[in-house]
Symmetry: C2
Subunit: 273 residues, 2 copies
């Protein structure tokens, strides 16, 4: 099944637009787990088992695993292997924000799709369509291009004016109108910019939008959902990381995380058209 079909299937089956970000910073993992040999994996496994009924995707950010070196990468693989084995219907979006040229991208592709068996990856767009061709040719995978970041300083470059439009709009146009010949493209768009999100949803039609930035980063759930979903109420992937995975810090962290996930899933659904 192609990524976009897989996404729509699970969004319907679980009635959820919620993505749980597995930003499993070792230093924030509950103490009783932290002492074990594979703390990031064991933490993730508990979170995944508890939240699986409420999500449409998992999104591990590679940075938190790279921080632990080869051991972290091994634990990331244990995590993605576990999702593939126990919850094969739930897509894995590898949040890697990679973007280089030519043969270098083949290395990233091997990492994301052969080694980790992810379903989708996040990418920087600056090298252009020709530079990212090895990714764009992957018909079965999902590619989320970094269109708008959720940070306060996003405007520095993203609001530059090019031919009367903002740079982020230009990116959305290139990706949706020219890069998406395999229908495998999506965009990352920060929830902290709901007005801009509304503009971009109009530009891209039904293309999947990966939307980080609600919760800890301050994005408004109602505005985000209303601006982010497609005309049928799908194809927004609304990510929460810290607000779910680190909601609890004791023995019951997974149960507390699941309760937060369920609450957010339902809250998101309230605002879908």
């Amino acid at each position: 099944m192609k990524f976009q079909e897989k996404l729509l299937f699970i969004q319907k089956k679980n009635n959820s637009l919620l993505c749980v970000g597995l930003d499993s910073d070792r230093g924030k993992i509950p103490r009783h787990i932290r002492a074990r040999p594979h703390p990031q994996f064991e933490f993730n496994k508990a979170i995944i088992d508890a939240t699986a009924p409420f999500v449409c995707a998992y999104k591990p950010n590679t940075a938190f695993y790279e921080a632990e070196g080869s051991s972290g990468i091994h634990q990331l693989k244990l995590t993605t292997d576990y999702i593939k084995e126990a919850y094969p219907e739930i897509p894995i979006i590898l949040d890697a924000k990679r973007g280089d040229i030519g043969s270098t991208n083949l290395g990233y592709i091997k990492f994301a799709f052969e080694y980790l068996k992810a379903d989708a990856i996040t990418l920087h767009w600056y090298v252009g369509k020709e530079g990212l061709k090895p990714f764009l040719e992957l018909e079965e995978k999902g590619l989320f291009i970094y269109c708008r970041s959720s940070n306060a300083g996003a405007h520095e470059f993203q609001d530059l004016i090019v031919s009367g439009k903002h740079l982020y709009e230009i990116i959305a146009e290139h990706v949706s109108k020219d890069w998406n010949y395999n229908r495998n493209c999506g965009l990352i768009f920060g929830a902290t910019y709901p007005d801009e999100l509304e503009v971009v949803r109009r530009v891209v039609g039904e293309m999947p939008l990966l939307i980080p930035g609600i919760g800890a980063q301050g994005g408004d759930v109602k505005k985000t959902v209303k601006a982010g979903v497609d005309k049928n109420g799908f194809n927004a992937i609304i990510n929460s990381s810290r607000g779910i995975i680190f909601a609890g810090s004791g023995e019951d962290f997974a149960k507390i995380g699941a309760s937060e996930a369920k609450k957010l899933q339902m809250r998101i659904n309230t605002y879908r058209r």
Copy 2:
């Protein structure tokens, strides 16, 4: 010693602007090494031992190590540990092209500078100064911002016009005039665009420029050196990867690589002012 001082010191001591790119794709490593337990590390060690007198930096690109999973990351660490131990004067530029926001960047910083003990890293700029602040605060390290890629399709976004200038010029201005308050910034600029390189060298003064794209990618050495060096003939870091590390494929690969490195070092020096 700060990165920029370290760079200038070795450029003078070795009389070299040459950076060897350790793009050690496992599939291209000579057969007699490929069968060993840590082929990427053993290959790198031989290349490093043979080329160290002729270089001003080593630049491993993470993609080729990530491709081999946790084992590749382990071999990348063996490589950087070896450089630190045997050739501590030669800076390591981790070619990672990372760029995310907030706490995520702390993970990348831990990977690059604590785990691998790199001296510098390559970054995407799209999240802006505020987003990259955790990097910009690292006074001792070097940060190479991706200003111009060396691929044929670089123009798609990089030549967009913003307020009468190309986007790549705007990036060079922001980085050199606003981000560089710790004098730790540099730019990546593809050798395949020597005219644009000349423009950017004028914008950034003596800022270090990391210049990939000569050799296999077609960049002209003479034009690149003339356009890329600062007014004293320093602060260009001219990278060659495949043209050196994969010049030979037999038992004598390191000797052949060293011979290519020495030739290129001398050719580059011919064109310095």
